[in-house]
Symmetry: C2
Subunit: 276 residues, 2 copies
Protein backbone atom coordinates (compact mmCIF):
# COMPACT_ATOMS: atom_id res chain seq x y z
CA UNK A 1 0.00 0.00 0.00
CA UNK A 2 1.21 3.54 -0.70
CA UNK A 3 1.97 5.96 2.09
CA UNK A 4 -0.98 8.33 2.40
CA UNK A 5 -1.04 12.11 2.60
CA UNK A 6 1.22 12.56 -0.45
CA UNK A 7 2.08 15.91 -2.02
CA UNK A 8 2.12 16.17 -5.86
CA UNK A 9 5.88 15.41 -6.07
CA UNK A 10 5.39 12.21 -4.06
CA UNK A 11 6.54 13.84 -0.84
CA UNK A 12 4.30 12.83 2.09
CA UNK A 13 2.72 15.83 3.81
CA UNK A 14 4.36 14.80 7.12
CA UNK A 15 7.73 15.42 5.45
CA UNK A 16 7.00 18.93 4.15
CA UNK A 17 8.67 20.37 7.22
CA UNK A 18 12.21 19.07 7.73
CA UNK A 19 12.72 16.60 10.57
CA UNK A 20 15.85 16.29 12.71
CA UNK A 21 14.92 13.59 15.18
CA UNK A 22 12.68 10.56 15.58
CA UNK A 23 10.89 8.84 18.42
CA UNK A 24 10.25 5.18 17.62
CA UNK A 25 7.91 2.84 19.43
CA UNK A 26 9.42 -0.61 19.96
CA UNK A 27 6.78 -3.33 20.26
CA UNK A 28 4.74 -3.43 17.04
CA UNK A 29 7.28 -1.28 15.16
CA UNK A 30 10.61 -3.10 15.61
CA UNK A 31 9.20 -6.52 16.49
CA UNK A 32 5.94 -8.31 17.28
CA UNK A 33 5.81 -9.92 20.72
CA UNK A 34 4.64 -13.50 21.22
CA UNK A 35 4.86 -16.31 23.75
CA UNK A 36 8.15 -17.62 22.36
CA UNK A 37 9.72 -14.13 22.47
CA UNK A 38 8.41 -12.66 19.25
CA UNK A 39 9.69 -12.00 15.75
CA UNK A 40 11.34 -9.08 14.05
CA UNK A 41 9.23 -6.95 11.67
CA UNK A 42 10.96 -7.34 8.26
CA UNK A 43 13.16 -4.40 7.29
CA UNK A 44 13.19 -2.78 10.73
CA UNK A 45 16.78 -3.65 11.63
CA UNK A 46 18.06 -2.15 8.39
CA UNK A 47 15.74 0.88 8.73
CA UNK A 48 17.15 1.77 12.16
CA UNK A 49 20.70 1.40 10.86
CA UNK A 50 20.01 3.58 7.82
CA UNK A 51 18.50 6.33 10.03
CA UNK A 52 21.51 6.35 12.32
CA UNK A 53 23.97 6.23 9.40
CA UNK A 54 22.25 9.29 7.93
CA UNK A 55 22.84 11.17 11.18
CA UNK A 56 19.29 11.30 12.53
CA UNK A 57 18.83 11.53 16.27
CA UNK A 58 16.68 8.62 17.42
CA UNK A 59 15.13 7.72 20.77
CA UNK A 60 13.11 4.55 21.37
CA UNK A 61 9.92 5.27 23.34
CA UNK A 62 8.31 2.31 25.06
CA UNK A 63 5.88 1.71 27.91
CA UNK A 64 7.64 -1.60 28.64
CA UNK A 65 7.75 -2.06 32.43
CA UNK A 66 8.08 -5.83 32.78
CA UNK A 67 11.85 -5.89 32.24
CA UNK A 68 14.76 -3.50 32.66
CA UNK A 69 16.19 -1.41 29.81
CA UNK A 70 19.27 -3.67 29.81
CA UNK A 71 17.11 -6.77 29.39
CA UNK A 72 15.15 -5.11 26.60
CA UNK A 73 18.39 -4.22 24.80
CA UNK A 74 19.45 -7.87 25.02
CA UNK A 75 16.11 -9.03 23.72
CA UNK A 76 16.31 -6.62 20.79
CA UNK A 77 19.89 -7.70 20.08
CA UNK A 78 18.61 -11.22 19.41
CA UNK A 79 16.56 -9.73 16.55
CA UNK A 80 19.63 -7.89 15.23
CA UNK A 81 19.07 -4.40 16.72
CA UNK A 82 22.21 -2.78 18.10
CA UNK A 83 20.83 -0.37 20.73
CA UNK A 84 22.19 1.05 23.98
CA UNK A 85 20.12 1.27 27.20
CA UNK A 86 20.54 5.06 27.03
CA UNK A 87 18.68 5.12 23.70
CA UNK A 88 15.59 3.69 25.42
CA UNK A 89 13.02 5.94 27.06
CA UNK A 90 10.84 3.84 29.42
CA UNK A 91 8.41 4.79 32.22
CA UNK A 92 10.07 3.10 35.19
CA UNK A 93 13.26 5.24 35.11
CA UNK A 94 11.06 8.32 34.69
CA UNK A 95 8.95 7.24 37.68
CA UNK A 96 12.09 6.67 39.72
CA UNK A 97 13.29 10.21 38.95
CA UNK A 98 9.89 11.67 39.89
CA UNK A 99 9.86 9.75 43.19
CA UNK A 100 13.34 11.02 44.08
CA UNK A 101 12.51 14.61 43.17
CA UNK A 102 9.40 14.54 45.34
CA UNK A 103 10.92 12.54 48.21
CA UNK A 104 8.38 9.75 47.81
CA UNK A 105 8.70 6.17 49.01
CA UNK A 106 6.84 3.86 46.62
CA UNK A 107 4.70 0.80 47.09
CA UNK A 108 5.41 -0.96 43.78
CA UNK A 109 2.50 -2.78 42.16
CA UNK A 110 4.70 -3.93 39.28
CA UNK A 111 5.83 -7.01 37.40
CA UNK A 112 8.78 -8.70 39.18
CA UNK A 113 10.81 -8.51 35.96
CA UNK A 114 10.90 -4.71 36.07
CA UNK A 115 11.62 -4.16 39.77
CA UNK A 116 15.37 -3.77 39.28
CA UNK A 117 14.75 -0.29 37.79
CA UNK A 118 13.82 0.77 41.36
CA UNK A 119 16.75 -0.95 43.10
CA UNK A 120 18.20 0.82 46.12
CA UNK A 121 15.18 3.06 46.74
CA UNK A 122 13.59 3.49 50.17
CA UNK A 123 10.52 1.24 50.40
CA UNK A 124 9.94 1.53 54.17
CA UNK A 125 6.64 3.18 55.15
CA UNK A 126 5.62 3.82 51.56
CA UNK A 127 3.68 7.03 50.90
CA UNK A 128 2.67 6.55 47.26
CA UNK A 129 1.80 3.80 44.79
CA UNK A 130 3.45 3.02 41.45
CA UNK A 131 1.32 0.73 39.28
CA UNK A 132 2.24 -1.05 36.05
CA UNK A 133 1.54 -4.26 34.16
CA UNK A 134 1.86 -6.35 37.31
CA UNK A 135 0.05 -9.46 36.00
CA UNK A 136 -0.07 -12.11 38.78
CA UNK A 137 1.04 -9.50 41.32
CA UNK A 138 -2.47 -8.00 41.06
CA UNK A 139 -3.67 -10.07 44.02
CA UNK A 140 -6.58 -8.95 46.19
CA UNK A 141 -4.17 -8.58 49.08
CA UNK A 142 -1.79 -6.27 47.22
CA UNK A 143 -4.62 -4.25 45.71
CA UNK A 144 -6.03 -3.72 49.22
CA UNK A 145 -2.62 -2.65 50.48
CA UNK A 146 -2.33 -0.04 47.72
CA UNK A 147 -5.93 1.07 48.25
CA UNK A 148 -5.50 1.59 52.01
CA UNK A 149 -2.26 3.49 51.51
CA UNK A 150 -3.96 5.89 49.08
CA UNK A 151 -7.14 6.22 51.18
CA UNK A 152 -5.11 7.10 54.28
CA UNK A 153 -2.95 9.70 52.49
CA UNK A 154 -3.68 13.39 52.90
CA UNK A 155 -2.22 13.91 49.45
CA UNK A 156 -2.56 10.57 47.65
CA UNK A 157 -0.10 9.95 44.80
CA UNK A 158 -0.76 7.19 42.27
CA UNK A 159 1.80 6.95 39.45
CA UNK A 160 0.93 4.68 36.52
CA UNK A 161 3.49 3.57 33.94
CA UNK A 162 0.78 3.73 31.26
CA UNK A 163 -2.95 3.32 30.81
CA UNK A 164 -3.14 0.35 28.44
CA UNK A 165 -6.26 -1.78 28.60
CA UNK A 166 -4.74 -5.12 27.60
CA UNK A 167 -2.04 -6.72 25.51
CA UNK A 168 -1.45 -9.92 23.62
CA UNK A 169 0.90 -12.54 25.04
CA UNK A 170 1.14 -15.36 22.53
CA UNK A 171 -2.39 -16.61 21.93
CA UNK A 172 -3.74 -14.95 25.10
CA UNK A 173 -4.99 -11.46 25.84
CA UNK A 174 -3.93 -10.24 29.29
CA UNK A 175 -5.16 -7.31 31.35
CA UNK A 176 -2.67 -4.44 31.40
CA UNK A 177 -2.22 -2.04 34.33
CA UNK A 178 -4.86 0.42 33.06
CA UNK A 179 -7.93 -1.43 34.37
CA UNK A 180 -6.32 -1.85 37.81
CA UNK A 181 -5.39 1.82 37.82
CA UNK A 182 -9.06 2.64 37.16
CA UNK A 183 -10.01 0.35 40.06
CA UNK A 184 -7.78 2.24 42.50
CA UNK A 185 -8.90 5.62 41.11
CA UNK A 186 -12.53 4.68 41.76
CA UNK A 187 -11.90 3.12 45.18
CA UNK A 188 -9.91 6.10 46.53
CA UNK A 189 -11.40 8.94 44.46
CA UNK A 190 -7.93 9.86 43.12
CA UNK A 191 -6.61 10.58 39.63
CA UNK A 192 -3.50 8.68 38.55
CA UNK A 193 -0.57 10.50 36.99
CA UNK A 194 0.46 8.67 33.83
CA UNK A 195 4.25 8.55 33.59
CA UNK A 196 4.70 6.83 30.19
CA UNK A 197 2.92 7.29 26.87
CA UNK A 198 0.62 9.16 26.16
CA UNK A 199 1.81 11.71 28.76
CA UNK A 200 3.23 14.84 27.13
CA UNK A 201 6.01 14.99 29.75
CA UNK A 202 7.17 11.56 28.61
CA UNK A 203 7.52 12.49 24.92
CA UNK A 204 9.09 15.85 25.72
CA UNK A 205 11.68 14.30 28.06
CA UNK A 206 12.63 11.82 25.33
CA UNK A 207 13.20 14.71 22.90
CA UNK A 208 15.15 16.66 25.50
CA UNK A 209 17.50 13.68 25.73
CA UNK A 210 18.38 14.04 22.04
CA UNK A 211 18.17 17.87 21.95
CA UNK A 212 15.42 18.00 19.35
CA UNK A 213 12.40 20.31 19.58
CA UNK A 214 8.86 18.90 19.08
CA UNK A 215 8.30 20.67 15.75
CA UNK A 216 11.45 19.05 14.32
CA UNK A 217 10.45 15.54 15.39
CA UNK A 218 8.27 12.63 14.29
CA UNK A 219 6.90 9.83 16.47
CA UNK A 220 6.33 6.53 14.68
CA UNK A 221 4.11 4.00 16.44
CA UNK A 222 1.41 1.37 16.09
CA UNK A 223 -0.93 2.65 18.83
CA UNK A 224 -3.25 5.29 17.38
CA UNK A 225 -4.11 6.79 20.79
CA UNK A 226 -1.02 6.34 22.93
CA UNK A 227 1.69 6.82 20.27
CA UNK A 228 0.15 8.99 17.56
CA UNK A 229 -2.40 10.99 19.57
CA UNK A 230 -0.04 11.41 22.53
CA UNK A 231 2.78 12.77 20.35
CA UNK A 232 0.48 15.11 18.41
CA UNK A 233 -0.89 16.54 21.67
CA UNK A 234 2.54 18.00 22.38
CA UNK A 235 3.32 19.25 18.88
CA UNK A 236 5.20 16.22 17.54
CA UNK A 237 4.14 14.81 14.16
CA UNK A 238 2.56 11.37 14.65
CA UNK A 239 2.91 8.69 11.99
CA UNK A 240 0.99 5.42 12.19
CA UNK A 241 2.54 2.14 11.01
CA UNK A 242 0.32 -0.61 9.66
CA UNK A 243 2.14 -3.23 11.77
CA UNK A 244 1.79 -4.43 15.37
CA UNK A 245 -1.59 -3.73 16.91
CA UNK A 246 -2.73 -1.58 13.93
CA UNK A 247 -6.22 -2.47 12.73
CA UNK A 248 -7.85 -1.07 9.54
CA UNK A 249 -10.57 0.63 11.64
CA UNK A 250 -7.81 2.78 13.21
CA UNK A 251 -7.85 4.79 9.95
CA UNK A 252 -11.33 6.04 10.93
CA UNK A 253 -10.48 6.82 14.54
CA UNK A 254 -13.05 9.27 15.99
CA UNK A 255 -10.54 11.67 17.53
CA UNK A 256 -6.98 10.96 16.33
CA UNK A 257 -5.93 11.79 12.74
CA UNK A 258 -2.28 10.80 12.17
CA UNK A 259 -0.04 13.13 10.16
CA UNK A 260 0.68 10.14 7.95
CA UNK A 261 0.41 6.39 7.48
CA UNK A 262 3.15 4.00 6.43
CA UNK A 263 3.05 0.26 5.87
CA UNK A 264 5.98 -0.27 8.22
CA UNK A 265 9.09 1.36 9.64
CA UNK A 266 11.12 0.46 6.56
CA UNK A 267 8.77 2.44 4.33
CA UNK A 268 8.85 5.42 6.71
CA UNK A 269 12.65 5.48 6.67
CA UNK A 270 12.85 5.17 2.87
CA UNK A 271 10.50 8.18 2.57
CA UNK A 272 12.56 10.17 5.07
CA UNK A 273 15.83 9.41 3.30
CA UNK A 274 14.29 10.32 -0.08
CA UNK A 275 12.37 13.49 0.77
CA UNK A 276 13.73 15.05 3.97
CA UNK B 1 -29.95 14.72 68.68
CA UNK B 2 -33.40 15.67 67.44
CA UNK B 3 -34.76 14.39 64.14
CA UNK B 4 -34.37 17.17 61.59
CA UNK B 5 -36.88 18.60 59.15
CA UNK B 6 -39.59 19.04 61.79
CA UNK B 7 -42.93 20.74 61.18
CA UNK B 8 -44.28 23.11 63.92
CA UNK B 9 -46.30 20.32 65.63
CA UNK B 10 -43.14 18.18 65.92
CA UNK B 11 -44.11 16.09 62.90
CA UNK B 12 -41.08 15.47 60.66
CA UNK B 13 -41.61 16.70 57.12
CA UNK B 14 -40.98 13.18 55.77
CA UNK B 15 -44.13 12.10 57.65
CA UNK B 16 -46.47 14.76 56.26
CA UNK B 17 -47.64 12.31 53.62
CA UNK B 18 -48.89 9.04 55.11
CA UNK B 19 -46.65 5.99 54.66
CA UNK B 20 -47.82 2.40 54.17
CA UNK B 21 -44.62 0.52 53.73
CA UNK B 22 -40.92 0.64 54.58
CA UNK B 23 -37.70 -0.50 52.98
CA UNK B 24 -34.99 -1.02 55.60
CA UNK B 25 -31.28 -1.39 54.98
CA UNK B 26 -29.72 -4.13 57.13
CA UNK B 27 -26.01 -3.51 57.77
CA UNK B 28 -25.58 -0.21 59.60
CA UNK B 29 -29.31 0.00 60.45
CA UNK B 30 -30.09 -3.30 62.20
CA UNK B 31 -26.52 -4.19 63.19
CA UNK B 32 -22.93 -3.11 62.72
CA UNK B 33 -20.67 -5.70 61.12
CA UNK B 34 -17.26 -6.58 62.57
CA UNK B 35 -14.70 -9.35 62.48
CA UNK B 36 -16.36 -11.32 65.29
CA UNK B 37 -19.75 -11.14 63.56
CA UNK B 38 -20.92 -7.71 64.64
CA UNK B 39 -23.28 -6.23 67.20
CA UNK B 40 -26.90 -5.19 67.20
CA UNK B 41 -27.70 -1.46 67.04
CA UNK B 42 -29.60 -0.77 70.30
CA UNK B 43 -33.37 -0.55 69.90
CA UNK B 44 -33.46 -2.00 66.38
CA UNK B 45 -34.93 -5.41 67.31
CA UNK B 46 -37.81 -3.76 69.19
CA UNK B 47 -38.27 -1.16 66.42
CA UNK B 48 -38.79 -3.85 63.76
CA UNK B 49 -41.24 -5.70 66.00
CA UNK B 50 -43.23 -2.52 66.72
CA UNK B 51 -43.46 -1.73 62.99
CA UNK B 52 -44.77 -5.20 62.18
CA UNK B 53 -47.19 -5.21 65.14
CA UNK B 54 -48.61 -1.91 63.86
CA UNK B 55 -49.31 -3.55 60.48
CA UNK B 56 -46.68 -1.85 58.35
CA UNK B 57 -45.41 -3.67 55.32
CA UNK B 58 -41.64 -4.01 55.60
CA UNK B 59 -38.99 -5.32 53.20
CA UNK B 60 -35.29 -5.50 54.07
CA UNK B 61 -33.12 -4.20 51.23
CA UNK B 62 -29.48 -5.27 51.26
CA UNK B 63 -26.62 -5.52 48.78
CA UNK B 64 -25.24 -8.49 50.79
CA UNK B 65 -23.86 -11.01 48.30
CA UNK B 66 -21.34 -12.94 50.41
CA UNK B 67 -23.92 -15.24 51.99
CA UNK B 68 -27.37 -16.59 51.10
CA UNK B 69 -30.59 -15.05 52.38
CA UNK B 70 -31.05 -18.09 54.66
CA UNK B 71 -27.61 -17.54 56.19
CA UNK B 72 -28.33 -13.84 56.68
CA UNK B 73 -31.62 -14.67 58.42
CA UNK B 74 -29.70 -16.98 60.79
CA UNK B 75 -27.10 -14.31 61.44
CA UNK B 76 -29.79 -11.74 62.22
CA UNK B 77 -31.60 -14.24 64.46
CA UNK B 78 -28.52 -14.33 66.70
CA UNK B 79 -29.08 -10.59 67.29
CA UNK B 80 -32.75 -11.22 68.08
CA UNK B 81 -34.36 -10.36 64.71
CA UNK B 82 -37.14 -12.74 63.64
CA UNK B 83 -37.12 -12.42 59.84
CA UNK B 84 -37.99 -14.76 56.99
CA UNK B 85 -35.82 -15.17 53.85
CA UNK B 86 -38.78 -13.87 51.81
CA UNK B 87 -38.60 -10.57 53.68
CA UNK B 88 -35.08 -10.00 52.35
CA UNK B 89 -34.46 -8.31 49.00
CA UNK B 90 -30.87 -9.04 47.88
CA UNK B 91 -29.11 -8.66 44.52
CA UNK B 92 -28.12 -12.28 43.84
CA UNK B 93 -31.70 -13.62 43.57
CA UNK B 94 -32.55 -10.61 41.37
CA UNK B 95 -29.51 -11.37 39.17
CA UNK B 96 -30.56 -15.02 38.95
CA UNK B 97 -34.03 -14.02 37.76
CA UNK B 98 -32.56 -11.64 35.15
CA UNK B 99 -30.21 -14.35 33.87
CA UNK B 100 -33.07 -16.82 33.50
CA UNK B 101 -35.31 -14.30 31.74
CA UNK B 102 -32.57 -13.48 29.24
CA UNK B 103 -31.32 -17.05 28.80
CA UNK B 104 -27.83 -16.11 30.01
CA UNK B 105 -25.18 -18.46 31.39
CA UNK B 106 -23.10 -16.61 33.97
CA UNK B 107 -19.43 -16.60 34.83
CA UNK B 108 -19.67 -15.79 38.54
CA UNK B 109 -16.99 -13.50 39.97
CA UNK B 110 -18.50 -13.76 43.44
CA UNK B 111 -17.65 -14.62 47.03
CA UNK B 112 -17.88 -18.40 47.62
CA UNK B 113 -20.30 -17.78 50.51
CA UNK B 114 -22.97 -16.44 48.16
CA UNK B 115 -22.70 -18.95 45.31
CA UNK B 116 -25.56 -21.11 46.59
CA UNK B 117 -28.03 -18.44 45.40
CA UNK B 118 -27.09 -19.51 41.84
CA UNK B 119 -27.26 -23.27 42.47
CA UNK B 120 -28.54 -25.41 39.60
CA UNK B 121 -27.94 -22.82 36.89
CA UNK B 122 -26.17 -23.60 33.62
CA UNK B 123 -22.53 -22.49 33.88
CA UNK B 124 -21.21 -24.25 30.75
CA UNK B 125 -19.91 -21.91 28.03
CA UNK B 126 -20.79 -18.77 29.99
CA UNK B 127 -21.94 -15.77 27.94
CA UNK B 128 -22.06 -13.06 30.61
CA UNK B 129 -20.31 -12.03 33.83
CA UNK B 130 -21.86 -11.46 37.28
CA UNK B 131 -19.54 -9.58 39.61
CA UNK B 132 -19.87 -8.95 43.35
CA UNK B 133 -17.76 -8.60 46.47
CA UNK B 134 -15.56 -11.53 45.50
CA UNK B 135 -12.62 -10.71 47.79
CA UNK B 136 -9.85 -13.33 47.31
CA UNK B 137 -11.62 -14.61 44.20
CA UNK B 138 -10.46 -11.44 42.43
CA UNK B 139 -7.35 -13.19 41.11
CA UNK B 140 -5.57 -12.01 37.95
CA UNK B 141 -6.52 -15.30 36.33
CA UNK B 142 -10.25 -14.94 37.04
CA UNK B 143 -10.27 -11.26 36.07
CA UNK B 144 -8.66 -12.20 32.73
CA UNK B 145 -11.25 -14.91 32.20
CA UNK B 146 -14.08 -12.42 32.75
CA UNK B 147 -12.34 -9.80 30.59
CA UNK B 148 -11.85 -12.17 27.64
CA UNK B 149 -15.44 -13.39 27.83
CA UNK B 150 -16.72 -9.80 27.66
CA UNK B 151 -14.26 -8.73 24.95
CA UNK B 152 -15.26 -11.66 22.74
CA UNK B 153 -19.01 -11.08 23.16
CA UNK B 154 -20.99 -9.37 20.41
CA UNK B 155 -23.34 -8.09 23.09
CA UNK B 156 -21.31 -8.09 26.33
CA UNK B 157 -23.36 -8.31 29.55
CA UNK B 158 -21.77 -7.42 32.88
CA UNK B 159 -24.12 -7.59 35.88
CA UNK B 160 -22.85 -6.10 39.16
CA UNK B 161 -24.55 -6.75 42.51
CA UNK B 162 -23.70 -3.18 43.59
CA UNK B 163 -21.12 -0.47 43.02
CA UNK B 164 -19.64 -0.09 46.52
CA UNK B 165 -16.07 1.17 46.73
CA UNK B 166 -15.05 -0.61 49.94
CA UNK B 167 -16.33 -1.86 53.26
CA UNK B 168 -15.07 -2.38 56.76
CA UNK B 169 -14.37 -5.89 58.01
CA UNK B 170 -13.31 -5.63 61.63
CA UNK B 171 -10.34 -3.29 61.76
CA UNK B 172 -9.64 -3.61 58.02
CA UNK B 173 -11.01 -1.84 54.98
CA UNK B 174 -11.50 -4.18 52.02
CA UNK B 175 -12.11 -3.41 48.36
CA UNK B 176 -15.71 -4.07 47.34
CA UNK B 177 -16.81 -5.20 43.87
CA UNK B 178 -17.17 -1.64 42.53
CA UNK B 179 -13.48 -1.02 41.74
CA UNK B 180 -13.20 -4.37 39.95
CA UNK B 181 -16.36 -3.59 38.00
CA UNK B 182 -14.74 -0.33 36.88
CA UNK B 183 -11.64 -2.30 35.84
CA UNK B 184 -13.68 -4.59 33.56
CA UNK B 185 -15.72 -1.65 32.23
CA UNK B 186 -12.51 0.12 31.20
CA UNK B 187 -10.81 -3.00 29.80
CA UNK B 188 -13.76 -4.02 27.63
CA UNK B 189 -15.40 -0.63 27.00
CA UNK B 190 -18.70 -1.86 28.49
CA UNK B 191 -21.11 -0.41 31.03
CA UNK B 192 -22.14 -2.67 33.92
CA UNK B 193 -25.80 -3.07 34.84
CA UNK B 194 -26.14 -2.59 38.59
CA UNK B 195 -28.60 -5.13 39.98
CA UNK B 196 -28.74 -4.06 43.68
CA UNK B 197 -28.88 -0.63 45.30
CA UNK B 198 -28.87 2.11 44.03
CA UNK B 199 -30.64 0.72 40.92
CA UNK B 200 -34.24 1.94 40.65
CA UNK B 201 -35.36 -1.50 39.47
CA UNK B 202 -34.07 -2.98 42.73
CA UNK B 203 -36.07 -0.63 44.99
CA UNK B 204 -39.19 -0.89 42.84
CA UNK B 205 -39.09 -4.71 42.81
CA UNK B 206 -38.82 -4.69 46.62
CA UNK B 207 -41.93 -2.50 46.84
CA UNK B 208 -43.78 -4.66 44.32
CA UNK B 209 -43.17 -7.59 46.64
CA UNK B 210 -45.10 -5.85 49.41
CA UNK B 211 -47.65 -4.14 47.11
CA UNK B 212 -46.73 -0.61 48.13
CA UNK B 213 -46.29 2.26 45.67
CA UNK B 214 -43.15 4.46 45.83
CA UNK B 215 -45.01 7.56 47.04
CA UNK B 216 -46.39 5.59 50.02
CA UNK B 217 -42.96 4.27 51.06
CA UNK B 218 -39.86 5.30 52.99
CA UNK B 219 -36.36 3.84 52.63
CA UNK B 220 -34.23 4.03 55.79
CA UNK B 221 -30.51 3.51 55.35
CA UNK B 222 -27.02 4.56 56.39
CA UNK B 223 -25.54 5.05 52.90
CA UNK B 224 -26.30 8.56 51.68
CA UNK B 225 -25.76 7.70 48.02
CA UNK B 226 -26.81 4.08 47.62
CA UNK B 227 -29.72 3.99 50.10
CA UNK B 228 -31.04 7.55 50.33
CA UNK B 229 -30.15 8.89 46.89
CA UNK B 230 -31.09 5.64 45.16
CA UNK B 231 -34.54 5.54 46.79
CA UNK B 232 -35.23 9.21 46.11
CA UNK B 233 -34.35 8.76 42.44
CA UNK B 234 -37.39 6.51 42.04
CA UNK B 235 -39.82 8.57 44.10
CA UNK B 236 -39.37 6.89 47.49
CA UNK B 237 -38.70 9.11 50.51
CA UNK B 238 -35.15 8.57 51.76
CA UNK B 239 -34.31 8.87 55.47
CA UNK B 240 -30.74 8.79 56.71
CA UNK B 241 -29.84 7.13 60.04
CA UNK B 242 -26.89 8.42 62.02
CA UNK B 243 -25.62 4.84 62.59
CA UNK B 244 -23.47 2.46 60.56
CA UNK B 245 -21.27 4.16 57.98
CA UNK B 246 -22.91 7.59 58.55
CA UNK B 247 -20.38 10.40 58.94
CA UNK B 248 -21.26 13.99 59.97
CA UNK B 249 -20.04 15.29 56.58
CA UNK B 250 -22.84 13.27 54.93
CA UNK B 251 -25.21 16.03 56.12
CA UNK B 252 -23.51 18.35 53.61
CA UNK B 253 -23.49 15.91 50.72
CA UNK B 254 -23.07 17.78 47.42
CA UNK B 255 -25.90 16.06 45.57
CA UNK B 256 -28.11 14.04 47.93
CA UNK B 257 -30.46 15.78 50.40
CA UNK B 258 -32.33 13.20 52.51
CA UNK B 259 -36.03 13.76 53.23
CA UNK B 260 -35.10 13.42 56.89
CA UNK B 261 -32.46 12.41 59.42
CA UNK B 262 -32.91 10.19 62.48
CA UNK B 263 -30.41 9.13 65.10
CA UNK B 264 -31.23 5.48 64.55
CA UNK B 265 -33.98 3.11 63.45
CA UNK B 266 -35.62 3.19 66.90
CA UNK B 267 -36.15 6.95 66.63
CA UNK B 268 -37.53 6.61 63.09
CA UNK B 269 -40.07 4.03 64.22
CA UNK B 270 -41.13 6.06 67.28
CA UNK B 271 -41.78 9.05 64.97
CA UNK B 272 -43.75 6.90 62.53
CA UNK B 273 -45.90 5.39 65.28
CA UNK B 274 -46.54 8.84 66.76
CA UNK B 275 -47.23 10.92 63.64
CA UNK B 276 -48.24 8.66 60.74
Amino acid sequence: MAATGEETDGRPSWLVRKIRGLLLDISGVLYNGSEGGGEVIPGSVEAVEKLKAAGYKVQFCTNEDQCTREQLVHKLARFGFKLLPTELHAPSPVARKLLQERNLRPLLLMHPGGLAEFEGMDFLNPNCVVIGGAEDQFTYERMNKAFRLLLNSDNPVLLATGCGRYYRSGSNLLLDGGPYTKALEFACDVKAEIVGKPAATFFLAALEGIHVSPEDAVMIGDDIVSDVGGAQACGIRGVQVRTGKFRPEDENHPTVKPDGYVDNLAQAVDLILKYN
